[in-house]
């Protein structure tokens, strides 16, 4: 009898744990609500979330430990335009899966991470104007029977990336194919190389980066969606958004934007120049 009472008493210990969970679940205000422009001007330091596994856009250079790519250069150019040349710019690697939580928690001030502007995401965060126009495509091993999205029929497997809208798009474009989702582009490409799928899909810019690294794979069938990339920032950051859009216009006018485009995409054969803004 006494034993039974004891074990029930233990259950009460769960109560504080449970209330902690509920409190966490209804997370309150945090650093993400502060005005970014004011804070960066005070601290002279800004942090961007960028991809670290995506060739051409944001790729970690293992030798130097620095992330390099189109997105990184855009982020640098914009930061300098808004806050001056002296501002300290930090980069935090994000994945499609982690970027929104990191932004909303205030770990990063903004996201330049090959992120398409979609209505669903717009409910959660705000976007700048379009800074890059991509489109979704597929890559296959050279000699594959699959020539375009239409060949992805029943019995085929296509590899996508978690947390990216490319998965929804491929489900619409090829409803009978099985979609396997891996955590990032590098993982997905490795899985494709291990024959875990017949094709891999994501935005064409990223795919061209992959095939430039391994020419035994090729992009087939052209793009089947339009994917305008925007810079993601927290809701309620009107001042920051206006400043970013202004900076985008300025770097476009003074030729900085074109220089960055040329630096990363000029050498890529097969990459359709017209998709760039």
């Amino acid at each position: 009898m006494r034993n039974k009472q004891k074990s029930w008493a233990k259950l009460w210990l769960l109560l504080p744990l449970l209330s902690l969970l509920i409190a966490l679940s209804a997370c309150g205000k945090n650093i993400a609500q502060e005005d970014v422009v004011q804070r960066v001007k005070k601290t002279n330091e800004i942090t961007w979330g960028v991809k670290s596994d995506t060739r051409l856009f944001g790729l970690m250079n293992i030798k130097t430990g620095k992330i390099q790519g189109f997105d990184v250069d855009i982020a640098k150019a914009i930061s300098k335009e808004i806050f001056g040349d002296q501002v300290k710019i930090n980069f935090v690697p994000v994945t499609s899966n982690t970027r929104l939580p990191l932004l909303k928690n205030g770990n990063v001030e903004g996201l330049v991470s090959t992120m398409t502007i979609t209505p669903e995401r717009k409910k959660e965060i705000d976007f700048s104007d379009v800074y890059f126009n991509a489109g979704q495509a597929i890559i296959v091993k050279k000699g594959s029977k699959i020539k375009s999205v239409k060949d992805l029929t029943k019995g085929t497997k296509v590899i996508g990336i978690q947390g990216s809208n490319s998965v929804d798009n491929i489900k619409k474009a090829a409803p009978n194919t099985q979609v396997l989702q891996l955590s990032d582009a590098a993982q997905a490409f490795t899985a494709l190389k291990s024959d875990q799928g017949d094709a891999m899909t994501t935005d064409n810019g990223i795919l061209y980066g992959l095939v430039s690294d391994d020419p035994s794979y090729q992009v087939v069938g052209g793009t089947f969606t339009s994917e305008p990339y925007g810079i993601g920032i927290n809701k309620g950051q009107k001042k920051f958004r206006t400043a970013i859009n202004q900076a985008l216009k300025t770097i476009e006018k003074d030729g900085t934007y074109q220089k960055i485009v040329d630096k990363w995409f000029k050498k890529i054969s097969g990459f359709d120049g017209s998709v760039v803004k």
Binding site: L21, L24, S25, C27, S96, N97, L100, P101, E120, R121, E124, I159, Q162, G163, L180, Q181, L182, S183, Q187, T190, A191, S194, D195, Q196
Partner: protein, 217 residues
């Protein structure tokens, strides 16, 4: 959090199905492999002992994710058609079997040497003595730590998420990244894992108590 559970119930249920399926296969597989390698480890034959020992030391000391990745990325070159679920479950089985082998070995070795000597001097063969004298005593000792391994196994099956293995963690990742409700989703997923592992913990505790009573009587 409730809305995450209700809106995505079919996806979560699918995840639970794959998690349980993988855990069950790995549980049976690793128990068989574990007992076999435990027997090899305690074998008086030096070569056999070394084979058992090597297996256990290799797989006990490599992270599960590495073992699973190996089966997912490297092995399909030799075995075509090895998908994420299968690769993950094989990795999980082998990894867990190394720990089970250690647990069973410790259990067998904790039975006093005199038991074996007595059985042998009564005319039993080595395997007979094992089967009728040593193992029945060892099982009772081994059950509590074995229960730990089983609970760990269910939790470790979340490694499938990295191999597109459709398990609960994989579904959780997808739900989190499409609804953007990260905190709620992972809380819900954690809760569902708890629902799966708690009964297992209690079952093991119950068996432990029952066998302890048996021993006294």
């Amino acid at each position: 959090m409730i809305s995450i559970l209700t809106n995505n119930w079919s996806a979560l249920l699918e995840g639970i199905k794959y998690t349980l399926e993988s855990s069950l296969i790995a549980l049976i597989g690793s128990l068989i492999l574990g007992v076999i390698f435990a027997m090899l480890e305690i074998s008086p034959n030096k070569t056999v002992h070394i084979i058992g020992r090597t297996y256990v030391e290799i797989f006990r000391n490599i992270p599960l994710l590495v073992v699973a990745m190996f089966f997912y990325i490297v092995m399909p070159r030799f075995i075509p058609g090895l998908d994420g679920f299968t690769a993950g479950t094989i990795g999980l089985t082998i990894y867990t079997s190394a720990f089970i082998a250690e647990t069973v070995r410790a259990g067998i070795e904790s039975v006093p040497v005199g038991q074996m000597e007595a059985a042998r001097s009564n005319g039993m063969a080595y395997l007979q003595a094992m089967r009728f004298i040593i193992l029945p005593q060892a099982i009772k000792i081994v059950v509590p730590p074995l229960g730990n391994q089983f609970v760990n196994l269910v939790k470790n099956s979340s490694v499938l998420a990295f191999l597109a293995g459709f398990d609960l963690m994989y579904q959780g990742n997808l739900i989190a990244s499409t609804t953007f409700k990260t905190t709620d989703t992972y809380l819900a997923v954690g809760l569902l894992y708890l629902v799966m592992t708690m009964p297992l913990s209690y079952l093991m505790r119950y068996l432990e108590k029952r066998w302890a009573k048996n021993q006294q009587a």
